[in-house]
């Protein structure tokens, strides 16, 4: 790596709806610019050697800074009687503890609280970026941002499982011994595949797919609103599409939180199953 910083193109960070669709309008005769996979690809903001720094990466870095800065501001100088940001920080931490950690792990899982809090807030802020003007992109809709989190969780619960139950014990506890012997032989491949492959795969794909679909929906209706806006009957359709933009935005606001909650809850559940046998 040479270390040269080379600005390649004009910043592609602020891709507005009109720019994504190439400014297509029903009157310009270029057809509806349907969003697709291209809407998830960005020109690099700058390149360092062969490394290309893109908008989703910038969003990920900003989200990390936001989460760290928030908790730093809240707990750098904690007071016995919380005020201001510390209040918010405590509400956030207690919410994760009481709604996510304790129901699955109980009090013995409190040592995992910092990890789960960081995971929850990082995913939530990353998801919320799809609704914040100028950013308007959920980095989690690029699956490359999801897999590191999944691997982190995957290796953590495998490590906890092997440490607490031992390698043979952990594998043994995965098998449902309460079924008849001949069924057991049939079930073993399913059970192993479910645990080692499908479980982490669904954990990642669920988050990615929800963010991907949400962003696509928002793009479709935002572009349609612009595309159909003329002084004619199509204004009605434009208005309908605009209502859908508002509806999908509100829905995404909920889904952003829900996906962060589901990811973190399932992480807690998987860690709990590693701490003790589930069968």
């Amino acid at each position: 790596m040479t270390g040269d910083v080379q600005v390649v193109a004009a910043p592609a960070t602020m891709k507005g709806a009109a720019e994504v669709g190439g400014g297509c309008h029903i009157r310009s005769g270029c057809g509806y610019p349907s969003p697709g996979l291209d809407s998830f690809n960005f020109r690099p903001l700058f390149t360092i050697g062969s490394f290309q720094f893109t908008k989703p990466m910038l969003i990920a870095v900003i989200c990390v800074i936001i989460v760290i800065a928030f908790f730093w501001a809240a707990f750098a100088k904690p007071k016995l009687v919380p005020r201001g940001v510390q209040n918010l920080g405590e509400i956030g931490i207690l919410a994760v503890r009481d709604q996510i950690l304790r129901p699955s792990l109980g009090k013995r899982g409190d040592s995992y609280l910092p990890f789960l809090v960081a995971l929850f807030f990082y995913i939530w802020v990353m998801n919320l970026m799809e609704l914040i003007p100028l950013f308007q992109f959920p980095a989690m809709s690029r699956i490359g941002f999801v897999w590191p989190l999944v691997f982190l969780v995957y290796f953590l619960y495998l490590y906890v499982g092997f440490k607490n139950q031992g390698f043979p014990g952990y594998i043994k506890n995965m098998i449902p011994w309460d079924v008849p012997k001949f069924v057991l032989i049939i079930l073993i491949p399913i059970e192993l595949l479910r645990f080692f492959v499908v479980q982490p795969f669904t954990l990642g794909v669920r988050l990615f797919a929800n963010m991907f679909a949400g962003h696509l929906l928002l793009l479709i209706f935002t572009l349609a609103t612009w595309y159909l806006a003329t002084v004619s009957v199509s204004l009605l359709f434009a208005a309908g599409s605009f209502v859908m933009v508002i509806f999908v935005t509100l829905l995404e606001l909920l889904i952003d939180l829900l996906q962060a909650f589901i990811f973190t809850t399932l992480t807690a559940v998987y860690i709990a199953s590693s701490l003790e046998a589930a069968h």
């Binding site: 009481d98 709604q99 996510i100 304790r102 129901p103 699955s104 792990l105 109980g106 009090k107 013995r108 449902p176 079924v179 069924v183 049939i186 079930l187 491949p189 399913i190 059970e191 595949l193 479910r194 492959v197 499908v198 479980q199 669904t202 589901i262 809850t265 399932l266 807690a268 559940v269 709990a272 199953s273 003790e276 046998a277 589930a278």
Partner: protein
């Protein structure tokens, strides 16, 4: 303890129970889904391998269907009975 205090404790207990129910529901829901996928994948792969060896391509979809049937059977066996959901979750006083 005053009646207001007792009410507050009950409210906290109820919230904790609801949170536990949510976590358990998520866990079981996704476990069931994982079984369905894993069943199709595992027996689809076995069917595909045997099919490749004996040159019968139909064994791949047949394997997937068998896997799906096994998964559904096991899900019914494990979670289909009344109260089986509670029995499937790990025990503990502090959760």
């Amino acid at each position: 303890m005053s009646s207001t205090g007792k009410e507050a404790v009950t409210r906290v207990d109820r919230r904790a129970a609801a949170a536990q129910g949510r976590a358990q529901g998520l866990d079981i829901g996704w476990t069931v889904f994982s079984y369905l996928i894993a069943g199709m994948l595992a027996y689809g792969a076995i069917g595909w391998l045997i099919g490749r060896a004996v040159r019968v391509a139909l064994l791949f979809p047949i394997g997937m269907l068998i896997g799906l049937a096994i998964s559904i059977g096991f899900i019914i066996y494990r979670y289909g009975k009344q109260g089986a959901v509670d029995a499937a979750s790990p025990e503990g006083d502090d959760r």
